[in-house]
Symmetry: C2
Subunit: 339 residues, 2 copies
DNA sequence: CGGTTTCATGTAACCGGTTTCATGGACGCT
DNA sequence: AGCGTCCATGAAACCGGTTACATGAAACCG
């Protein structure tokens, strides 16, 4: 059961190791007959080139590091689409011959700003994908600055060979507000995400932009803060319901909050969309399942993964001379029954 | 920015490469002064041992392959807990110094039963974790038979160094049925998962066992097939509602189906739990968010990851002489408002 | 026909670690 | 002093690939 090495294969095929190597890496330079013969013997032998040896010789591991910090003592923002992102990443990277190495950060390592860079050099990683955890991990800067091809999801970053993929939060928010306006609403409230998070801040900005574009006034009392969680949305909605002049339309910056808002409205004995129209954000699974179905701004979930993979591979292969521009994923308004 | 090699470090520390190597791998055999001196120089230099070189020399990669097939052309069962499993795996493996390599299976590879084993030999993987996709991938057998340390999640497997982690599906189902009985129901229906999947089959078995234990008759018309998806659950529930004698209690073998069932019931103008009591299975996030909150059988989600990691490392380190026995994770009944 | 290209292939150094075995000094014992 | 142990260390082979360079045969050319 010992694995065949390139030397054995060379001996059996009666060629030199260089020729065998060329058969696999540079097939066009070797004579067709020789090539086919070597491939045949290789198949018989079940030969598998040893990746560690290749990596050692070439400095290319064909592996991309995935940084997805999950320190449970300091819980970060739990990404709602991890699975979709992973599928997108894996599929797109696979097609280009790369594997994903999920970097372990604890272990016996001494943590520090260079924790990721260290892992990169140790494993000769060809690039890195960073999934934001909302915790402002300073190690990302160090990594991006080090010149390793690096793509960050949901969080801007700059560096010689770094770029990022982000959803068009402001655009999505604008489309939500425009949709409510088109449904005949002139007074549109919003429940925001935390201002410290990028999606929270940008969606609020988009809301304001669209109000301005429509010539609607911005009224501070129609803006209440949420936290991206259900209970927060419910509480925020209660505050809106208590206003003297109850809003008839609300843009909620996250679906989970929107479901909370829906609940608050229902419990107040009001109806969606007759009394109050609601637009959410994210298009989580739940959005399609609640009653009434939630109109919401959908993100291109798999797009995160595939775009990241494409950008990364472009940098690795040098197809993109320098860092490619950030990818801004378009959003799509999914109209259901809540508006 | 060239990385330091062991030879440079040896030269600067004025020792041999063998000594440097020992400082990192066998610290106890080297004189304390020498050791500290070498470590100091190493830190100054920012020395990072090259993992490919180590792997080449030792045949140990300190990497564990993760097989999580996501072929979208033939969609398998989408695991509800991927994120939790990954967190558990990553944390437990990190602590023991292992990384997770997400294996790409497409690429230019010719697929075949040995697709995973090939990846294992190429990368010198120390072990493999297999996440079931409900697709009966035959390659798993080949892998387990090959003698690579291998842990399968949710799906039994046997091999010289293979074991699996599974939830106590039958036990969970029994507790669900017992709970409904305790709530005063004597006629309990069930909506099953596909009989070809292990969770589907075992939860049905548990249902029957508990009926028997309670002295209740098993009635075939009260058992309808679902597919673990929402629409399937809804359809199945409709069939149950059409029965002459409508059941007052239903054990649904998956939460997503249970939500579908909930919807069917609501649409029929009936109320949960007053008219029909419902117990789900899995405790997905959604279960807590629907109205009424779904009583359900919760699995030890992170336990999948941590148990798998523990079993795998035991096999790798040889702590477990042969394959350790399967791990059966206990379930926990979470009572909410649907019963 | 000698000289230059071109093509296919082989030789051997190299990538950066680990590990076996040899070596030599310090120590303890008779 | 002579001998055997123990301890710390070094020299060099080895892991399994890649690749720069050398080689030799065939093709081409004036």
């Amino acid at each position: 059961m010992t694995v065949a090495t390139i030397r054995e294969l060379a001996r059996l095929a009666d060629v030199s190791v260089a020729t065998v190597s060329r058969v696999f890496n540079n097939p066009e330079v070797v004579n067709q007959e020789t090539r086919e013969h070597v491939l045949r013997v290789a198949a018989d032998l079940g030969y598998q080139p040893n990746e560690s040896a290749r990596t050692l010789a070439t400095k290319k591991s064909h592996m991309v590091g995935l940084i997805w910090d999950t320190d449970h003592r300091r819980p970060g923002w739990r990404h709602p689409f991890l699975q979709e992102i992973l599928i997108g990443l894996k599929t797109a990277l696979s097609a280009r011959g790369y594997h994903l190495l999920l970097l372990a950060t604890s272990g016996s390592e001494i943590p520090g700003p260079d924790i990721y860079s260290r892992a990169v050099t140790r494993h000769n990683l060809d690039g890195v994908v960073f999934i934001d955890n909302g915790r402002q991990d300073p190690a990302l800067h160090h990594l991006a600055a080090s010149g390793v091809p690096c793509v960050s999801l949901d969080r801007p970053v700059s560096g010689p060979r770094a770029t990022y993929v982000i959803s068009d939060n402001a655009g999505g928010a604008r489309s939500a507000v425009a949709h409510l306006y088109a449904r005949g609403h002139g007074s549109i409230a919003t429940i925001t995400g935390p201002a410290t998070t990028r999606p929270g801040a940008e969606r609020l900005a988009g809301y304001r932009e669209q109000l301005a574009a429509l010539g609607l006034p911005y009224r501070a009392e129609l803006v209440v803060d949420g936290d991206f969680y259900l209970a927060g949305g419910q509480a925020a909605m209660c505050r809106l319901l208590d206003l003297d002049e109850r809003p008839r339309a609300v843009f909620v910056a996250g679906d989970e909050m929107a479901v909370g808002a829906l609940r608050a409205i229902t419990e107040a004995g009001l109806k969606v969309p007759e009394d109050i129209a609601l637009v959410g954000y994210d298009d989580i699974e739940l959005a399609a399942l609640v009653r009434p179905g939630l109109t919401t701004v959908a993100q291109d979930k798999a797009g995160f993964g595939t775009s990241a993979a494409a950008a990364l591979v472009a940098m690795i292969d040098g197809t993109a001379g320098e860092a490619p521009p950030p990818t801004v994923l378009p959003t799509r308004l999914v109209v259901r029954d809540s508006t």
